[in-house]
Symmetry: C2
Subunit: 452 residues, 2 copies
């Protein structure tokens, strides 16, 4: 296999990862005189802010997933490649990937982050992560399968384990999934499981820090906690999870919580590029970049978004928060800077413009910090809906998502409670990757990858 991309008089920009940052960069490079190659391990962009809706059976996976090839239809000098990057050879301007090697003039790493299990193998094996659409579907399936088992399981102990949902991590994702599941408990479980006492379903949110939504204002944290507790969620603060064994979450202080519905949204670590390490990485394994998002010591290697850390922005001496907005703004600026580079002009340093942040806890319940303005309740929630509906790609998806929301709002009922998975799909994907790797050595493949 090879990248099989035609040579061009234009300089080639390879973008690794089609998240918020990579997508924005690719969009802004339209007509900028580059040949753009987008590499992603999935063939679709994921709208992660709504992922908890998929996990809680409130939304179609396809409503928040957008095929790259559709997004970039009719775009000229653009190429999508379904692949994983393995390593980089800067002195040859070459990357090695699961489908062979490719050469670049500029390369931008925008692959984001993955779940951080802090090296605990038990947690890695048993916890259910929620970092992408696939995992969100897996979580939905696991929860529903556990409900079904709880109805017929042999012992009270097993039943308690199945119906205790423990969410570890009090960030936006943890707060949002906790809220969504408590609504499922309130509005759906009694109707779907008349045999089940909904009070047997226990949702617990564990946060190691002293407050939820640490990235937001004290006020927002406080409101989120109050909202969740009013909805019956048990919120544990200043409690660190140390292990998971015998169907029990083990806390640092020795206390245990029995559960087989163990959701892990507690931390992230930047996606690794095989041979970028050591000094090149900062906190959270993020690639250290300068004020132009350029990797230290490199002239044509860049990194944006969650995968990088930039300490040159006065307002953020310890690096920016890992938010979509940061990635989007970095992608936008980098597009301009690449053009400047080509034109031999000065690049502009990155300054993050905080547009505020919000999190939703449930219907009519959200918290938002817009500069000095701290909002919560119905208005913040309506704003949250609006902002996210606006950002979803495609008119069709906007319509479908809106219908879903209106429908769920009126009926208090989701209709996507399916334990469903693509049979053979996983095998196919695994085989893809296996076979691709077998091509590794001969990665160069067709000559059109070679440079003159």
């Amino acid at each position: 296999m090879s990248f099989n991309i035609p040579t061009s008089k234009k300089k080639r920009v390879i973008i690794v990862g089609g998240g918020f940052g990579g997508l924005k960069l690719a969009n802004k490079l339209k007509g900028a005189g580059f040949q753009v190659v987008l590499v992603d391990r999935n063939n679709y962009h994921q709208f992660l802010p709504l992922i908890y809706q998929v996990a809680s059976a409130g939304m179609e996976p396809t409503s928040i997933s957008f095929p790259f090839r559709k997004i970039f239809q009719k775009r000229r000098d653009f190429f999508f490649r379904l692949a994983e990057v393995r390593s980089i050879t800067p002195d040859q301007n070459m990357i090695q990937t699961s489908i062979g090697k490719a050469y670049y003039d500029y390369i931008v790493f925008a692959a984001g982050t993955t779940s951080n299990f802090f090296g605990n193998e038990h947690i890695r094996e048993y916890a259910i992560p929620m970092k992408n659409v696939s995992e969100a579907m897996g979580l939905r399936n696991a929860l529903l399968a556990n409900y079904e088992r709880a109805v017929t399981c042999a012992t009270e102990e097993e039943k308690r384990e199945l119906l205790n949902i423990v969410i570890v991590g009090g960030g936006a994702t943890g707060v949002e999934i906790a809220g969504a599941l408590s609504e499922m408990k309130k509005f759906v479980v009694p109707k779907d499981y008349p045999e089940m006492d909904k009070n047997d379903l226990h949702i617990c949110l564990v946060e190691a820090g002293s407050r939820l939504l640490a990235g937001m204002s004290e006020k927002a944290s406080e409101n989120a906690r109050r909202f969740l507790e009013n909805m019956g969620v048990e919120v544990l603060l200043n409690r660190r999870v140390s292990d998971y064994k015998n169907h029990q979450v083990v806390l640092a202080d020795g206390e245990v919580i029995p559960t087989r519905s163990f959701i892990w949204v507690s931390g992230v670590t930047a996606v690794q590029v095989g041979n970028i390490g050591g000094d090149a990485l900062g906190r959270g394994n993020r690639i250290v970049v300068d004020e132009f998002n350029r990797v230290r010591g490199m002239s044509n290697v860049f990194a944006i978004g969650d995968q990088c850390i930039q300490t040159t922005d006065e307002a953020f001496p310890n690096g920016h928060p890992q938010l979509a907005q940061v990635a989007i703004q970095q992608g936008e600026l980098l597009a301009k800077n690449l053009v400047s580079l080509e034109a031999g002009e000065k690049m502009r340093p990155f300054r993050y413009k905080d547009l505020g942040s919000m999190a939703t806890v449930g219907r009519n319940k959200a918290v938002a910090d817009i500069g000095a303005v701290k909002m919560h309740g119905w208005f913040a929630w309506a704003m949250w809906l609006l902002v996210h509906l606006r950002s979803i790609l495609g008119i069709r998806n906007k319509i479908l998502v809106l219908i879903n929301w209106v429908w769920n709002y009126i009926t208090y009922d989701y209709s996507l409670r399916l334990i469903i998975y693509a049979r053979k799909a996983k095998e196919v994907v695994d085989r893809e990757i296996r076979e691709a790797n077998s091509h590794w050595g001969s990665g160069s493949g067709s000559p059109d990858d070679e440079r003159p």
Copy 2:
């Protein structure tokens, strides 16, 4: 584990399988004075007539999948159990399942059929079946992954294998998926894969018999073939597939067709109940039943739909065609007959009322036989849409499906081309079944399953 169903003064009817027949029966038994237990290996009903739409990325899997617990919300004396039936012990009125044993007063097998690979292990391993929503999602993923690979694969030979789509089986499913994929080739591939010459994508439909849609009129068969060939599908009749090896479909006459997109919709065999065999089974391993759909020699064991064969209907001496309508009508009558049995009245024998059959080949292209009336083209297609939209459960789903259809009709573009699978989901389901089986011996579980 155990079925964990409360004893009741009412007689218990266990329905195995929530397809068209089982679902109709369960619905019609409402208020009939029975305790109804529905057992299915999935937690949702599947609307199989539209499954090819899922496989061709034209429709959400969730648009044709309906959670049983939602369908039967508020229904009293009804219980759903996620389980697989392993065997039956008639003299104890007991079944053994993946979650333990359960006792019945009446049991109805309505588990339908599964793909028939005619004992060929190569075909079983490599062919992509399309008998349920999971498999349809797997097919979609496999096709899209193959397109991606075709863009970067190393050799022309591999590329040809990836872009040759071979569909084996010229029944309604084969005709419909062939039509849908040829539309994808015409309308989607050129936009999504500008790098790919759409003429490299070759769709071939192989049928062992002398005509397509053998169950319909000669006229319908002829029109379907003409439609497909006009859409660029190569239709091979009177050609039997004997094997699959080295990425090649091997025909009985020795000819081979290279392909890695090998779709198998060529035959079905009834789902087996462990210890029902021998004389009890007829053609296609279907359970032989009398005119009341009662299993031969049994007083309280029944079978309906595709899983059974009934030769007592004068018009169908060799058994009924395996169609949704037959299952639905048998389910409807059996509900009445069970009531009659309880009342000590005579049961009514089953007579199939043919409401006609239809198949769609593409936009504005369908064939329909309604009694003596043979239709094809736009009107038949519009009727096909109407009939199927009517039969889809739930207003929300009707709306979503309609939007999808209208959208695709106007834009000639699907937006669901996602290689997506539920991570960890398969592992979860496998573990469920494994663990369930470990409970096997102790299946009786809680005493409430025992009879006085």
